[in-house]
Amino acid sequence: MLSRVADSLYWMSRYLERAEHTARLLAVKLETTVEQTREEADSSWARVVAALSSQNEAPSDTDVPAIAQHLAIDRDSDNSLLSSLSFARDNARQVREQLSVEVWENLNRLYLRLRETGVLEQRNNALFFRETLQDLHALEGVTYSTLSHGEGWYFLELGHYIERAQLVCRLLDLHFGAAKQTEPKYLDWLVLLKFCSAFEPYCKAYTAAIRPDKIAEFLLFDPEFPHSVRFSIDRICDALAHVAPGAPPGRRASVERLAGRLKAMADFTQIEELMASGTIARFLADIAAQCEEIHAAVYSAYITYGAETVL
């Protein structure tokens, strides 16, 4: 597969995951705001903003419709839902010939619909994000069932789960780690689970007793839940085993070593250690940093390598 194509597929998928994350956070947040006091709502909105924006770009506004508008369809913000979709689509356009007609049409239609949206209607904007989320899920399903699960598909997987692992780490950091501003309350924990589509799966595993350490354990280490960090890391390892099948062993090893190390961390760390010694902040930062390292290693091994090194 052309390196440029792999690059575009990878980023297309990262941006789609980011879009999905944004849509879900906004939908959940707007659905739950009604049950909170003004103060609680403000601090929980602050968390959403921090989860979705880079620091220097976060809106200072506290007006909910304005924040939602900004995070959803502000063209000037690189982090908005619309921008994420637009970047995903730009990348998809670059590799149109690699995608099925169905994948392209679903993505294109979704993008065109969002682009047409001017100002969000306040009354049913939660519904708007739910629908967008649904469309993104549909796109994921269409991708799964209409693309060959060959190398290109594994680059999509790689981008998808590297992005997801980092996004979930960021959310956990805001609730447990270095980025925590205020102590989360009962409803905040509930919302955190919903941010990760995890409320019911969590209840199945641990009953409806909401315990922060159990939530951390579930979102970090559950091996079967698709939004847990460990699940993402497993998918990353699997994807790396399938991409660049013809690359020289030395090159592959440089990537797989990093992935193996990360997997060992996710497989063998116990939540008790993290909670007891208060090292969870460092642990989360470490995982995010290792994801970055894997990204860099993939690029230098398969995508931006110098031609002189292989001739």
């Binding site: 052309l2 792999a6 010939e97 392209w104 991409v243 660049a244």
Partner: protein
């Protein structure tokens, strides 16, 4: 131009949606001069008069939405957000009868043979120049003549592998060639996409009509490209595109997908030791055949334009060494400029000793004294074109231009007569086109696609371009044209 509603002559044909249909001086594809429906259109006319206008509009709308969603668009950079527009497709098919097609096919085959022989000749012996058939200065002075190609053999002596010729139908109903596009002709994806949407809009009509299929074009193109290399197994073929910002990018991606070949940009390729490689995740992969959709000028910055960021350094040397085939060959543009065009009938007689099957449009070469005087005296009746331009740029449509525009253009011609040719204003034929819920005549041309290599293949279909503005004769998509599905009938 006198225009009369067809109802004058034939009240039956003047029913909705044809009630506003007015025949002019041009040949009409559907109605004979007396207002009767030509036989090939009879079934369609019957069907359409029984469809309510809202239904027609609904189908037209569905077709436009489908194009937009599929991303069959070109990009207009007017403001910060580049807007993507579809090239409008008109659902009313254009029909070419089996007999008409037979002649077109024979004529185009003859023409591509002669043009390829001509290209071989001017890049080797130059017999045609020695024999004084065509002026030496016209060839060697052409900005599309590539000195670098002299003496370089090309597979099967086929310089032009993909050609898209523009035909028009004159007032007398005969098809004539207006232009040969021998460099990087585009539009074939629209031919295929138009068929797709029309098939969906009128599924029943198709079977009854005996429309010849065109879906095998990508397969034929692939076979043509494959036969250009002696490598037999594991031939690695790539389409070289300028990238996503090119207006024909959709087509490049479409063809790559349909043929199952790699779509590459210049930055994906590199040349080492005169061999072309693509950079892949698994390492470098050798490329044997490149179907390039980039102009000569941009293909290799070491040989041609050094500021080109689209091309591949060293590609031409790899080509010269015979390690890669490029289709079309470089330097084919010399044979499709508008001055050489005037000589094509003579070239056909010279190389094939045959009479041309398809006619040319009468052409005045401003480089010659008498025609020049004629052109300058009759600017208000003629269309003047710059020799090396295409896409409707650099031309003057005399009858539609103001006096000041004509005078300004006359100065340009006098300053550089070699660069201009003139042709009479030709009434392109009109074809029925959906306009605001009704049907009106609009001017059309016809671009069939010719594949040439080991053998010559013409898929029975074409892109029909249509000037959507009433009365306009300019069909180019860059100037507000649209397109239509073209039905070639099997009987």
């Amino acid at each position: 131009m006198s225009a009369h509603p067809i109802a004058d002559a034939n009240p039956e044909a003047g029913q909705p949606p044809f009630s506003a249909y007015k025949l002019g001086a041009a040949y009409d594809e559907m109605f004979a001069a007396d207002g009767s429906v030509r036989p090939q259109f009879a079934a369609l006319a019957h069907r359409l008069t029984h469809l309510p206008p809202e239904e027609l509009q609904r189908r037209q709308q569905a077709c436009e939405t489908s194009f937009l969603h599929q991303g069959i668009t070109f990009t207009v950079y007017s403001d910060k957000q580049a807007t993507e527009r579809i090239i409008p497709t008109d659902l009313f098919p254009r029909i070419v009868t089996a007999k008409e097609w037979e002649k077109i096919e024979a004529g185009l085959t003859q023409r591509i043979l002669a043009l390829n022989l001509f290209l071989k000749d001017i890049y080797t012996d130059g017999r045609v120049l020695k024999d004084g058939i065509i002026p030496r200065s016209m060839i060697y002075g052409s900005k599309h003549y590539r000195r670098e190609m002299r003496g370089l053999p090309v597979p099967h002596d086929a310089y032009v592998n993909v050609c898209g010729s523009d035909l028009i139908r004159c007032e007398d109903g005969k098809f004539a060639v207006l232009e040969d596009n021998l460099r990087v002709p585009s539009g074939v994806s629209y031919m295929l996409a138009n068929r797709d949407v029309v098939r969906r809009a009128f599924p029943n009509l198709f079977r009854a009509q005996g429309v010849r299929p065109i879906d095998h074009y990508p397969r034929e193109l692939l076979a043509t490209l494959r036969a250009l290399t002696p490598v037999r197994e594991d031939v690695s073929i790539a389409i070289l595109t300028p990238g996503v910002f090119n207006s024909a990018y959709f087509e490049h991606a479409f063809l790559a997908r349909q043929m199952g070949v790699e779509l590459v940009e210049g930055r994906d390729l590199l040349v080492n030791d005169n061999v072309v490689y693509a950079r892949t995740t698994s390492g470098l992969k050798r490329i044997d055949v490149i179907y390039r959709r980039i102009d000569d000028d941009f293909i290799d910055p070491l040989i041609f334009r050094e500021d080109s960021a689209l091309g591949v350094s060293g590609l031409f040397n790899a080509y010269r060494a015979g390690n890669v085939v490029i289709a079309n060959a470089l330097g084919t543009g010399v044979a499709d400029d508008k001055a050489v065009y005037a000589y094509v009938p003579r070239l056909i007689r010279y190389y094939l000793a045959e009479e041309p099957i398809l006619e040319n449009i009468e052409t005045y070469l401003c480089r010659e004294e008498k025609p020049l005087a004629h052109v300058l005296a009759n600017l208000d009746k003629l269309v003047v074109k710059a020799v090396g331009e295409s896409g409707g740029y650099g031309m003057l449509v005399g009858p539609h231009a103001s006096k000041a525009e004509r005078e300004a253009f006359a100065e340009k011609i006098k300053a550089d007569p070699d660069n201009y040719i003139a042709q009479p204003t030709i009434q392109l034929s009109t074809a029925p086109t959906f306009v605001d819920g009704g049907v009106e005549p609009r001017h059309v041309d016809l671009r069939p696609f010719i594949l040439h290599g080991e053998k010559t293949v013409i898929v029975p279909g074409a892109l029909t371009r249509v000037a959507l503005k009433r009365g306009s004769l300019v069909v180019n998509s860059s100037q507000g044209g649209g397109s239509k599905d073209t039905w070639v009938l099997s009987h």
